[in-house]
């Protein structure tokens, strides 16, 4: 239904009050229950009294409510705009009321003061009261409706969202500048039938479409949705366009709002829609505390009454007895199960976490980022940061070396990784750059050769590439690289030290230093060459690797010893010696410290300080090794060449670098127990061999190979004769004469011949043996005279008894004798010459 147009002048809000601020409060008077389902006509109110009730007499009240039917005679919508009664001012009623026109059924808006002069309202009202002072307000502008909620609901919900639990009220006025609004007006008569549902209410209400401009007076509270519908009531009053600007959209279907706003040049106060929170923020707190206090008082009262036990007693609530079937054990079981489950849960969680971290670690290991690799590198090598470079030290300086090589390597990040391709297995994010002169691998070759063929061949030692020592599985490639470089550095230091000493030290035959080789002559016909073989990792040198240059003469032991010696030298420079006693004494060797107080003369001091250089030591060791190997070779060759007697060598396991010992036994096979008179102990030194005989003789042999051989040969020949002597004892034969060095017969070139003469037990026969190293053995048997046929009969010896004497000698053809060795043959001979006694 269309609304009539109104054109009477409406006093603007400014005429009534300066503003809507100052001690603002919201008053809710009555409520919907007084209207629905049936009207309660007893509920009437006076606005002046309301102002006093809300403790703001003289308040300027805005709002919406139901009109005073008691004075008007009919029901209406009421828009109070009242300056209530105060001491200073008379009350001014600028309110409006809208009701259904009884004539045409349309809606009629009238000024209340024209009809009545009281300040009454009825049933329900939402009022916004203030002092009417100017102040800060909230201005809300809206252009167009965009959703299902109306303007006031939107504002209320915004407040609710913002303030949450705190109920905040707002009141004010706004104007709809353009557009249409659908709203309702209560009919003049109350419904006689109870209105129980919204539909019935809507049927009873009259709905109209009203055109702008419309001034609205909303009062609403953010919280308490139950009251939202009641509290949020808007009653409209229509005013002229000259009033406050700013459009607002409300409920209804009117959609056309032109975009452009109206000019705002009329009023100073631009904020048209003035909303104000009316409740102070501590209100909710106070309410809560008050309710709590109430409850506490109630509880206290109850307890005090109960204590008296006069009017009230406490009775325990009877509980159902447990069913007897349920054992406490099952309860325990259940509770234990639960607790175990809880504990198991915790453990499983922990286990899960551990497995996660372990797998992560493994993944990390595989990932091997730069920092973790750097950490691994630091565990093995010393690193330091210089500027933005990481440098490391692979020299032996910290171990006591004095070699002037810097030995620094650089750690660089390996960034040449193609992320698109698969990461290779041996990819390492860290790379080391070693100095160029330490690249490749090196070793010191020590070899002993017979006299060097030519001077021109010196210094041209073919480097046969030794295969690189296998790196430990799992060790990263930088470790092998650094170790190889360190080895190269150590080999260089060893060679530098050796060459320095070779030049400085005086010896009978001077040492020759040529390029990478040091040549010296330990023995006249011998050459010791120490060379530094450094091969880089180029592919070119691989070709030469195939030529093997007699690796047998490379003495690994000496190379190892060189390494040991240089390390010992390092340790000495580190001066890890005992602290002197007393502490004020000078550092140094203990005996050197005593040399002052003990008045050592120069000789003694020199003997203390005798320190051989590396070269001297290694030459001595080489000599010893050579002597030892040659002695072994000599003995072995003799053993293989001569079967009778046998020569056995028992080498001692514990040797010195400068001394070894071997025990040489000369025995006859099968007769070891009786023929063990030749036992030699050979002490092989650096330049000579000392032989200690079983009979106590000490003989010193030089390094000449021939001497040892000759000596052994002479001993072997002596053995045979000794064996005969022992055998004679066993067989019962008598030794008539024995000589180790017989002066008769041909002169031996090696040693001397030995001879023995033994007589048979009966005395009939005698065996005479002469054994020489060169001449071999000669055995003669002496027969009794009566067995010799060719003896001339002599006139002197006429008795027969003389024929029992032993006569001439006959030689035995020893090589035709049966028996595998000399002693066996001798035994056979002896037994053949001893007749059996029947």
């Amino acid at each position: 239904m269309a609304c009539a147009e109104f054109s009477f002048h409406v006093p603007s809000l400014e005429e009534l009050a300066g503003g809507i601020c100052g001690k603002t409060r919201i008053a809710e008077v009555g409520g919907v229950p007084y209207l629905l389902p049936l009207v309660n006509q007893k509920k009437v109110y006076d606005l002046n009294k309301i102002a006093k009730e809300i403790k703001l007499p003289g308040a300027f009240i805005l709002g919406a409510g139901a009109g005073p039917f008691q004075t008007l005679g009919f029901n209406s919508e009421f828009m109070p705009v009242i300056q209530t009664e105060s001491e200073h001012k008379p009350p001014v009623n600028g309110s409006y009321f809208a009701h259904v026109n009884p004539a045409d059924g349309g809606c009629l808006l009238e000024k209340y003061s024209e009809k009545c002069h009281d300040f009454q309202c009825a049933l329900l009202a939402n009022l916004f009261a203030s002092e009417g002072q100017p102040g800060k307000v909230i201005e809300v502008k809206a252009k167009r409706r965009t959703g299902p909620l109306n303007f006031v609901t939107c504002m209320r919900e915004t407040l609710e969202k913002h303030y949450g639990n705190k109920p905040i009220g707002m009141g004010g006025t706004f104007i709809i500048q353009k557009g249409k609004v659908k709203s309702h007006i209560m009919p003049a008569e109350f419904s006689s039938c109870p209105l129980n549902s919204d539909e019935e209410v809507n049927k009873w209400l009259h709905f109209y479409e009203m055109k702008a401009p419309l001034v609205c007076l909303p009062v609403f509270v953010s919280r308490d949705p139950n009251l939202a519908r009641l509290a949020q009531r808007i009653d409209f009053s229509q005013g002229s366009g000259s009033e406050e600007e700013e459009a607002a959209g409300t409920e209804g279907d009117a959609q056309e709002w032109p975009g452009a706003g109206s000019s705002a040049d009329q009023d100073d106060e631009e904020g048209v829609v003035k909303f104000q929170p009316s409740l102070w923020p501590w209100d909710s707190v106070r309410n809560n505390l008050r309710s709590a206090l109430t409850e506490m008082c109630v509880l206290y009262d109850v307890l005090s009454i109960v204590r008296d036990k006069k009017f009230m007693t406490l009775d325990p609530v009877s509980q159902d007895a447990l069913p007897p079937k349920q054992n406490p054990q099952t309860l325990q079981l259940i509770s234990k199960k639960k607790s175990l489950a809880g504990a198991a849960q915790i453990l499983l969680k922990g286990a899960e976490r551990l497995t996660k971290s372990v797998t992560e670690n493994q993944e990390n290991k595989l990932q091997r980022d730069f920092n973790s690799e750097l950490l691994r590198l630091r565990q093995h090598w010393k690193l330091r940061k210089v500027g933005d470079k990481i440098l490391g030290d692979l020299s032996y300086r910290s171990a006591g070396s004095l070699f002037p090589h810097h030995g620094t390597f650089e750690v660089i990040k390996n960034t040449d990784l193609d992320l698109d391709k698969k990461i290779p297995e041996d990819y390492c994010p860290l790379d080391v750059q070693i100095p160029s002169d330490l690249e490749g691998s090196a070793y010191i070759k020590v070899s002993i050769q017979k006299q060097a063929p030519d001077i021109g061949d010196l210094g041209t030692v073919n480097l046969f590439k030794r295969p690189l020592p296998k790196s430990k599985p799992g060790s990263p490639h930088w470790q092998t690289k650094l170790e190889a470089a360190q080895n190269v550095l150590l080999c260089k230091e060893i060679f530098a030290q050796l060459s320095r000493e070779a030049v400085q030290i005086k010896s009978q035959v001077p040492h020759i230093v040529v390029k990478n080789q040091i040549i010296s002559q330990p023995f006249p016909s011998l050459q010791l060459s120490i060379s530094l073989c450094h091969s880089s990792n180029d592919k070119k040198s691989q070709k030469f690797a195939t030529e093997k240059q007699c690796p047998e003469d490379h003495l690994y032991v000496l190379e190892h010893n060189l390494h040991l010696l240089i390390r010992e030298f390092h340790k000495q420079t580190l001066s890890s010696i005992m602290m002197p006693h007393p502490a004020s004494a000078p550092f140094g060797h203990k005996r050197m410290r005593l040399s002052g107080p003990q008045a050592f003369d120069k000789n003694e001091i020199n003997s203390l300080q005798s320190s051989e250089g590396l070269l001297e030591k290694i030459i001595k060791q080489a000599k010893h090794i050579f002597l030892r190997s040659r002695a072994a070779a000599t003995i072995d060759s003799l053993a293989s060449r001569i079967e009778d007697p046998q020569i056995q060598a028992h080498w001692s396991n514990i040797n010195d670098v400068y001394e070894s010992s071997v025990k040489v036994l000369i025995t006859s096979q099968g007769y070891e127990q009786i023929c063990k008179s030749i036992q030699l102990q050979l002490n092989i030194g650096v330049e000579q061999i000392r032989v200690v005989h079983r009979d106590g003789r000490v003989i010193t042999l030089s390094y000449q190979e021939q001497e040892l051989q000759d000596f052994l040969l002479s001993q072997m020949s002596q053995h045979q004769v000794h064996a005969v002597q022992q055998l004679a004892k066993v067989m019962g034969w008598q030794v008539l004469s024995f000589s180790n060095h017989v002066g008769l017969g041909p002169i031996e070139s090696i040693g001397n011949a030995s001879a023995i003469t033994v007589a048979s037990p009966s005395g009939d026969y005698a065996i005479s043996v002469r054994n020489g190293p060169e001449s071999g053995s000669k055995i003669m048997v002496q027969f009794p005279r009566n067995q010799c046929k060719d003896l001339p009969k002599s006139d002197v010896l006429q008795d027969n008894k003389w024929s029992h004497l032993r006569g001439p000698f006959k030689e035995v053809q020893w090589n035709k004798m049966e028996g595998r060795n000399f002693v066996y043959k001798m035994e056979l001979l002896m037994s053949a010459l001893s007749p059996c006694l029947l």
Binding site: P586, M592, S595, G596, P597, A599, K602
Partner: protein, 145 residues
């Protein structure tokens, strides 16, 4: 083992100390001794300081500190009829520290320098004894080698 004999050689008449020393060395060389180097023996005297003398008025003792090139790392300190100490060369430093108790008589530093000769089994040292700038005599030391 063996005995070391130190004796003073009288200066030949009409000749200086140096000339006599030359004579001796020539004789030795003619005998067939080998020159083996030089030697030096010196001696410093120290008085006990007056402050340490007791109220009884003890006479100050004299201490002699000797060095011998044959024993290059040693220092010999002795009182005239008293004990003899063989010490390290740090003993000299100690004497500096003990300046308060011992005062050195710098003027009385005496030393003998000369050459060593080895003759068969013996070591013969012929030295010129000097005190300050002036040569005072000749010392000859013989000991088995």
């Amino acid at each position: 083992m063996g005995v070391t004999c130190v004796s003073q050689m009288p200066v030949a008449e009409g000749k200086s100390v140096q000339q006599t020393v030359e004579l001796l060395t020539r004789k030795l060389e003619m005998l067939g001794a080998e020159k083996q180097g030089t030697f030096c023996v010196d001696c410093e005297t120290y008085h006990t300081a007056a402050s340490t003398l007791g109220s009884q008025g003890q006479t100050g003792k004299l201490m002699y500190v000797m060095h011998n090139s044959e024993y290059p790392l040693s220092c010999f300190a002795l009182f005239e009829n008293g004990p003899c100490l063989i010490a390290d060369t740090n003993f000299d430093v100690l004497m500096v520290k003990l300046k308060g108790f011992f005062q050195s008589a710098k003027a009385s530093k005496i030393e003998t320098r000369g050459t060593r000769y080895q003759y068969c089994d013996f070591l013969v040292k012929v030295g010129t004894v000097t005190m300050g700038p002036s040569a005072r005599g000749i010392s000859v030391e013989v000991r088995p080698w």
